[in-house]
């Protein structure tokens, strides 16, 4: 890094989807930030709320239908009709979680705890909470507050801050 480059001070990450890859991209980036001494604020909205909802957070899936990146083990294309068969998506998701565990990537609840242990903050979107009829009690303890988008932007101020939408 040259002397003119100002290091990143804060990242604000917004997650609006519930698939394993969207949620983990968010968690890895947030945790990676606090590990580097960068402030991190994470905002979960719409289906992303699954990642912080006690009932859903351990049951995240990756899409086996409409996912062109999906391959069979060994690299052959994964036919869309196969992804539609009951149980296939659950099986693929379980396989992904097993592979992540082998790389020491924690489950979602533990990952949230790691982020807050480093000073990161986790928020839920008020509008989406109202839409899905969720209350603060439905959310994991590591969620610090339910915020409007305006309140989240207030927390996103300051020099060398980036907002990332996963």
């Amino acid at each position: 890094m040259s002397k003119e480059d100002k290091p990143l001070k804060k990242v604000c990450i917004i997650c609006a989807k519930a698939s394993i890859e969207d949620v983990y991209a968010t968690l890895v980036m947030a945790n990676g930030a606090v590990m580097e001494g960068i402030e991190a604020k994470v905002f979960f909205t719409f289906f992303g709320l699954d990642a912080i909802t006690k009932k859903q957070m351990k049951k995240l899936h990756t899409a086996t239908v409409g996912n062109p990146g999906m391959r069979m083990p060994g690299g052959l294309p994964f036919p869309t009709w196969l992804g539609g068969i009951p149980g296939v998506e659950a099986g693929v998701s379980a396989m992904m979680k097993k592979q992540m565990d082998a790389l020491d990537i924690p489950p979602v609840d533990e990952f949230l705890e790691m982020i807050t242990a480093g000073g990161g903050e986790i928020y839920a979107c008020k509008l989406a909470m109202d839409m899905f009829k969720l209350t603060k009690e439905d959310l994991h303890e590591e969620v610090s507050a339910v915020l409007t988008i305006g309140e989240f932007y207030e927390k996103a101020g300051g020099e060398n801050t980036q907002i990332i939408f996963t």
Binding site: M35, E36, G37, D104, I105, P106
Partner: protein, 103 residues
């Protein structure tokens, strides 16, 4: 790469200040490197450093999650010991390479 005298010993450091040879390490060298980053090492710090050196020598990949489960300290404690770089700074003071881990 630069040669530097730390705690009466000539050691090799890379551009980011990490020892290039973990055999150059001693408790005194660690204390001096940590001091430059504004951290005074305590027994708890050394426990973490010894743990990292042991795991690195055994070829095991390191993560804060693993240190958090070592029984020495939890992840919150690790952040308190090494503010702003729980794995980066601890590895630097332990005389092992900068970790290539994303978690």
């Amino acid at each position: 790469m630069a040669e530097k005298e730390i705690a009466g010993k000539t050691v090799q450091l890379n551009d980011e200040g990490y020892l290039t040879n973990m055999e150059d390490w001693s408790r005194e060298v660690a204390a001096e490197i940590a001091k430059e980053d504004g951290i005074e090492l305590t027994d708890k710090h050394y426990e973490v450093l010894e743990y990292l050196r042991e795991k690195h020598a055994a070829g095991e990949p390191l993560s804060i999650r693993k240190v958090g489960k070592s029984g020495i300290t939890d992840i919150k404690g690790l952040y308190q010991l090494f503010p702003g770089g729980p794995l980066k700074l601890s590895s630097k003071f332990a005389g092992i390479p900068k970790p290539a881990s994303c978690v």
